[in-house]
Each structure stands twice: as C-alpha cells, then as structure tokens.
Point group: C2
Chain length 294, copies 2
C-alpha cells in the first residue's frame, strides 16, 4: 500500500494510554492498533498523542526513568519505523527519551526508510519540570517526500513563538503530540471546544500552515485530559471536526500540503509572512527592549 504524496491523508489518533511500567506492553499494542487502522484507511501521515506509549503522569523521577528509552535506538521508534515501512507512511510519535542522565519529552518523526528526526519539547508543563530537561536542540522541520514536517509538543502551543518559528523554518504541516490537561474553568466553551484547540486553529491561521494535533483522553492519577484533537487547515478552521473530550477516535483530513507555501487569498497587497515587521520584533526577545515592569 502506498500513501499519496499530495493530497496526503493525515490522521490524528485520540485514545487513552495508561501510565505504569506494567502497562508498557498494552500501550504499545494500543498504539500499533491505531497506526494500523489509520494506515489501512489510507493515512500517509499519522500523529499520536504525547507519551502515547508510556502514559503521562509520572509520580517520581525514578518512574519517569523506568519508562524511558533511547532515541532513535529505543523500542518505540523501532516499532514506529517497522510500521512506517510496512505501510509506506510517516508517523509522529512522542516518547520519554533518555540521553545519559537526562530525560526529554521528545517527538519523533519516522518514515518508510526509518528514523528521520526528533524534537525535544522546549516548554515544559508542570511536573514535567521535575523529571525532564527543557529541549536543548531548538525547533526542527524535516523535509520529506510528502512535504516539510515541523514538530512541537503540547504546552508549546501556548507560546505563539513556537508555531511562528516552525512555520518560518518552512513547515507545511506542524504535528503536535499533545496531552492537554484540564485548565482552569471554563474548560470548554458552549461549542464544547477547549482553549488550546483555539490556540491551535489560530496558530494555523496566522502562520498559513496546517496543524495536526493528537490529544489523549481519560484521567490519570487525578489529572484529566481534554481530547479535542483536530487537524486545522491553513485558514485555521478545523478540517472535518474537533474530536469530543472523551472520544476514542481517529480523525482524518486529506490535505494538499502545498497550500502552506501559497499565500492565502486575502488581497493583492498582503501576505502574512512577508508583512511581518521584523524590524520591530526585537522587543519580543526580552533583551534590547525597555526594562520590563513585570
């Protein structure tokens, strides 16, 4: 089975992994099942939730280390690579990466020919700061047969800088393994959409880029997850729909990734990227600017 290059069918898998080393095997099987289902439905790019093969809410550094693996030479990447080759597809997963004495929350991209690259989450959420090291390799975009694929992880989307940088680096699509936890109320608006889903749609809109976000569901050690996985078009609006908060599902979208390289049809005078006032943005960096009153 050979996936199309353009349009490519993108899939985001939303389900409930379970933390605990005793669940590693079951998680691995659950992930494999979603990948097979999506690939057999024709998906050429499949995105998994954050830490889908391990679960998310660790209770200690020791436990986080017990769930860790090497990248690329660990069990998850090897499994993703085997499936990617079998289905001629691209897969974005996310694992607890061990590098010596350091752990990273790492998104990985594999393709039909094996491991392509990784992104170590740069903005850490809550207790992740207790076991993970903030990403030390910056932001990455990988050129593939189906297009240029950028990677972010979960809480990164709260920082508009991240999607901006990745799209400035040329991403056609940003793939975001995610474990959005319950935020302060209101969690959802009247449409059942949570704030981070809107962070995703607006980031796609202002950057003219596709974004495929796979979130998890369920509750783990008292931490609730929000679902709302989605694939946003370059105009920002969700393609098809936003997944419900508790749904075990896979969403699909057939997208022409070249749309991300074409300026949106606003008018003859505007282009979102060209119109940036980079001459004025040095104030964003927190240096060279007036002293901050905060």
């Amino acid at each position: 089975m050979t996936a199309n290059v353009s349009p490519v069918r993108v899939a985001v898998a939303q389900f409930e992994p379970r933390v605990g080393v005793e669940n590693l095997k079951a998680n691995g099987l659950a992930v494999e099942e979603r990948i097979r289902t999506a690939a057999e439905a024709g998906a050429g790019l499949i995105v998994l939730p954050e830490l889908a093969t391990t679960g998310y809410v660790f209770s200690s550094r020791d436990e986080a280390f017990a769930h860790a693996e090497a990248v690329p030479d660990g069990r998850s990447v090897e499994s993703f690579a085997r499936l990617a080759a079998e289905y001629d597809a691209y897969i974005v997963g996310c694992v607890v990466e061990r590098d010596g004495t350091r752990l990273f929350d790492t998104a990985v991209l594999v393709g039909p020919d094996g491991y392509i690259g990784r992104y170590r989450k740069t903005h850490l959420w809550n207790t992740e700061k207790l076991w993970f090291t903030p990403g030390d390799e910056g932001f990455s975009v990988y050129d593939t047969r189906i297009g240029r694929i950028g990677l972010l992880v979960c809480w990164d989307i709260w920082f508009p800088e991240t999607a901006r940088i990745v799209s400035q680096l040329g991403a056609d699509i940003i793939c975001i393994p995610t474990g959005w936890v319950w935020t302060p109320p209101p969690l959802y608006d009247a449409s059942g959409v949570c704030m981070p889903a809107y962070l995703t749609t607006t980031a796609a809109h202002v950057n003219n880029v596709f974004i495929a976000t796979a979130d998890r569901i369920g509750e783990e050690r008292g931490v609730g997850f929000m679902g709302n996985s989605l694939i946003a078009g370059t105009n920002g609006w969700p393609i098809d729909r936003i997944a419900g908060p508790d749904e075990d599902t896979i969403l699909y979208a057939d997208v022409d990734l070249t749309a991300a390289r074409t300026a949106p049809i606003w008018n003859q005078l505007n282009d979102l990227h060209r119109d940036r006032r980079t001459d004025l943005y040095d104030q964003m960096l927190g240096y060279g600017a007036a002293p901050l009153p905060r």
Copy 2:
C-alpha cells in the same frame, strides 16, 4: 461622575461610521453619542472602532488626506479629550493622522487630563498600504490611573508578535480599534464567531492580558465588516459575550486590571511569561536563523 479605578468598567462601542468628508460631522456626533452613553453607564475606559470618526474605505490618497487631522492637535483628539474630562474617563479612538506629507492609521489614548499618547498602526491591511505609512514608532504602553493601557489596531492582531510585545511591555489591557473586513470563507463558525475574534481571545489567554476590541459593522463601498466586538478576560474567554456581526451596540465588562499582573493559577511550576524560551526565539526575527526556504 468619577469612574472607578478598580474594578474599572470597560466599554467597546460597535456601530457603523460612514466614509466621505460630507459625513465627518455625523460621524463625530455618532461617536460622541456612544461615548456619552458608555460614560453615563459608568464606563471608565471606552474603546471606539478603527477610524470611527472618518469611515474606513477611502478611494484615493486625496480622499484619505481630506479625512486626516493632526495628533494631538486635531478635531477628534480635542473632542475625545473634552469628553474624557467631562466624564473623568479614558478613551481610545483611532484617526487618520497627518504628519507633514505622511498619513498614519493612529490609535490615540486620552484621559481626564487630556491627550496621553498614540500608536501608529504597524501592520497595514490591503489598500491602507496605498495611503498610510507603516507605523514608525514601535509599540506603546501608557501608565494611567486605572492601569497600563496598550494600543494596537485591527490587522495587528494577525501578528502574535504584537500582543506579545505589548504585554511584555507591561500592558494590563490592550485596546484595539478595529475594522475587521470579511475574510475568505468561512467567515464565522457555527457559533457565529469570526476568526479574528478567536485571534483576540487566544492572544489574551497566552499573554494573560485583557483585550478590548471595538469593531465596526456595515458595508462601505463593497467592503463588509464583521462586528464581533469583545472584551476578553486574562483567561482568554470573552467576558459577557461577543457582539453579533450586525449589532449596533456597546458591550461592557467590569474588570480588575491587576489580574493581568498576577500569574494565572495553572500550578506551582508554570508562568506564561517566565516560561518563555527567549534563548530560542531569535529565529522569529528572520535573522540569525537558518536560511528560510520560503
């Protein structure tokens, strides 16, 4: 009548100005009527739509010049200042500013003691580029008795850098005179909310800042406007509601501006501003980064 300092009642006025020098007087009266209504309802900070005293869709540079005035010594700022003194309120308006041979699309802030400051729109939309000069004074935040007030105009919100910079400069609330024109379909989602309203709510959320956006309505020389004025809380969600696309209305919100100086209650480890990875953001500026494939 003395407006409260905290909480302060914020008002955004949504209505339909009409372009054409023959309408300047009627626009001025329409603006004065909204300011009086809002101030008499207790508003201490009143935001008007973009170019509310002139209308928006000019057909030539000559016509734009005919609508222009000096800042601060022009008719609109003088009128705003007179009303601000009468009601002990702060007013954010937006005028065609003439400075020698240059025109700017300029937001102005006046208070009970007169003119405070201006912001010349830095990101110009469509035919604005044919008559206006891009703002040459960067971004501004003004310290007032009711709190720190930042200014942006309309299309600026498409650039996440703008709200980020203004909030980094310490704004408690960002006031945005706006004339959102119809964007490519879909214009609104199933809730009747347009994409730029979401750009506003998400900008408030990720920056932990209030945003008061006053949009206009109606159609001018074939250009349609989107309404959807709103006041977003620091959690991003609209306070009260989002105005309809055709409503002639004033929305109010009683806000405690100090909330913008207090980190949101996420957890004990995260703070949206502190957690920024400014060590990695130089890629946003378009220099110092890898060559861009775009």
